[in-house]
Amino acid sequence: MFAELTRETGQNTYSMISMLSLAFEGMGSFCSRQKPYSEADAEENEQAAEIERRIAQETKAEQHIHKLLLLGAGESGKSTIFKQIKLLFQTGFDEAELRSYTSVIHANVYQTIKILYDGAKELGQNESDSSKYVVSIENKEIGEKLSAIGSRLDYPYLTKDIAHEIKTLWKDAAIQETYARGNILQVPDCAQYFMENLERLSEADYVPTKEDVLYARVRTTGVVEIQFSPVGESRKSGEVYRLYDVGGQRNERRKWIHLFEGVTAVIFCAAISEYDQMLFEDETKNRMMETKELFDWVLKQACFEKTSFMLFLNKFDIFEKKVQKVPLNVCEWFKDYQPKASGKHEVEHAYEFVKKKFEELYFQSTKPDCVDRVFKIYRTTALDQKLVKKTFKLVDETLRRRNLIEAGLL
């Protein structure tokens, strides 16, 4: 009887399971959204074929476009390089575009003087020898007024009067002392240049020069791109570059990932003069340390296994002046630096030290199977048009040679 029982149970379970599964299947097909069934039209087929053909054509054309990315931490010079490329290889800046920078330049002036005046007040409260940061009585009123203007949403046009006041405040000893401590504040690099040219900037019919535009400081947000063809033989072969400029602050970096596919070369900008400065978005972090970590992160990205890396050690002009006053050791990464000489030799020695550090970092962060990717270091000053042109020519040559090697022609 036991045998009968088990057989019976077995049969029942089996039939129950098969019934249930049938039921679920039925339910599933009953409930699944019915996709509209479109008849295959001869015309539609033809249209689809035409679209396929066009896509194939454009994909082929796309392959000749080399994608270049400008990466780097905030204020490393990416957008300046971007502007330089526009000037060199595109139509350059026409008067309308130059004029559009007037408001930006004026904004830079107001922001700079506000940062300096507010900074002087702060240093005057916190520092031990606070007296040297106290602005003179006559200039205090100007300072308060300019600080208030600087916090407005809309800045007034920079008139001769305001420019004169700004110049007066700039010349104040306390402000100059504050400027000397500019590394702990977020003073833009263009500060001195604009302050020295205030008379010209405040002309009624002021049109910014190319140099003014290159100095103008705007944080980039999002992504900007241009397409250009470098002059020379490559024009015949239809070599086209598409250059992408991005924001460098931490929040902007999460957007970079959208650009990482199919990149021919990464131009990584590192401002070597920033070894004693803190980040705009995190004043507890040293900029050089941030650049070091960022470069490491970029090198380790899987999609860049075959990508060429061009490292631009930028802001050499500022580095030159700074390294003689501020030792490299203030930056943790360079703490083993030993100054050898002084003057010009010192600058070269310091530069070679920094370059070596970056090279070491590169080889540490590069996996063995990526060792044959191109890696070149260039000393740049993004503001110097001739230097950027020369540098980019070298970059272009390297990439073309690489291209030929990959195509098996070299």
Binding site: N12, M16, L20, D154, Q186, G222, N251, R254
Partner: protein, 246 residues
């Protein structure tokens, strides 16, 4: 004879027991949250969407969320400063779409949400705090998906505040974002396809002039983003005339 009767009895009982067990299991399955997708598939009741698109809608702030088609007044004066221009819903939507397309949308979204926060009356601190916390979690906290580009001090000010309902909490941040938008995004917007579309959809008086733009917008015209955090459709054509994938 007796054994035959027994077998029949066993059959009935075992089948009955199996049926009961199966029904119980089915009921248990459908009561678990794991089955929700299945349940939603087989539910014959028409589901009303009770989801809110924005926090503003959830808090019941009037006039936010989807674009409301207002009676067309005389066209927007495009020479106004940006903060005035952004008060106009149509302009704001157009500018937001442009910003989203070049991966800079968080600034405009932030501006809009702070604007909505401003609509909550001061004597309603609970809703203000909810909205403020929502904004902070989405835009201010380091690593937030739509984290905005503001200075260290401004961020610390907001994160360290003791009064989330304070009306001026986000003033500095808004100021910085306005400067960023004015100096960086706005110029590129004037020469973008979004602006062209905006002009077509909002024809203005013939005597009002437009801000000077130039032909080439350097902004990103086509990026293949499989993961667009701003969830907006991109309606742009690349210079080659190809439609962009999203």
């Amino acid at each position: 004879m007796k054994s035959m009767k027994d077998i029949l009895w066993v059959q009935v009982v075992s089948r009955f027991l199996l049926l009961v067990t199966a029904s119980v299991l089915v009921l248990v399955f459908f009561s678990m949250s794991v089955s929700q997708p299945l349940l939603s598939q087989i539910s014959l009741r028409k589901r009303e969407s009770t989801e809110f698109v924005t926090m503003g809608q959830a808090l019941g702030i009037p006039g936010c969320g989807l674009l409301v088609q207002t009676a067309s007044v005389a066209g927007v004066d495009l020479h106004q400063p940006l903060d005035k221009l952004l008060q106009d819903k149509r302009f704001r939507q157009s500018f937001m779409d442009f910003a989203d397309s070049c991966l800079a949308g968080e600034s405009v979204h932030f501006f809009e949400e702070v604007h909505e926060l401003g609509k909550i009356p001061l004597d309603d601190p609970v809703r203000r705090i909810y909205m403020a916390r929502h904004i902070i979690e989405n835009y201010i906290v380091t690593g937030a998906e739509m984290e905005i580009n503001i200075s260290h001090r401004t961020r610390q000010e907001i994160l360290g505040t003791l009064d989330l309902a304070h009306p001026d909490l986000f003033n500095h941040a808004v100021n910085e974002m306005m400067q960023l938008m004015k100096m960086n995004l706005l110029k590129d917007y004037w020469s973008s396809m979004n602006f062209v579309k905006f002009k077509e959809e909002n024809p203005r008086q013939p005597d009002s002039s437009e801000p000077a733009g130039w032909d080439l917008s350097p902004r990103l015209s086509c990026v293949r983003c499989t993961d667009n955090p701003f969830n907006h459709e991109q309606l742009h054509k690349c210079p080659s005339g190809r439609k962009c994938d999203v």
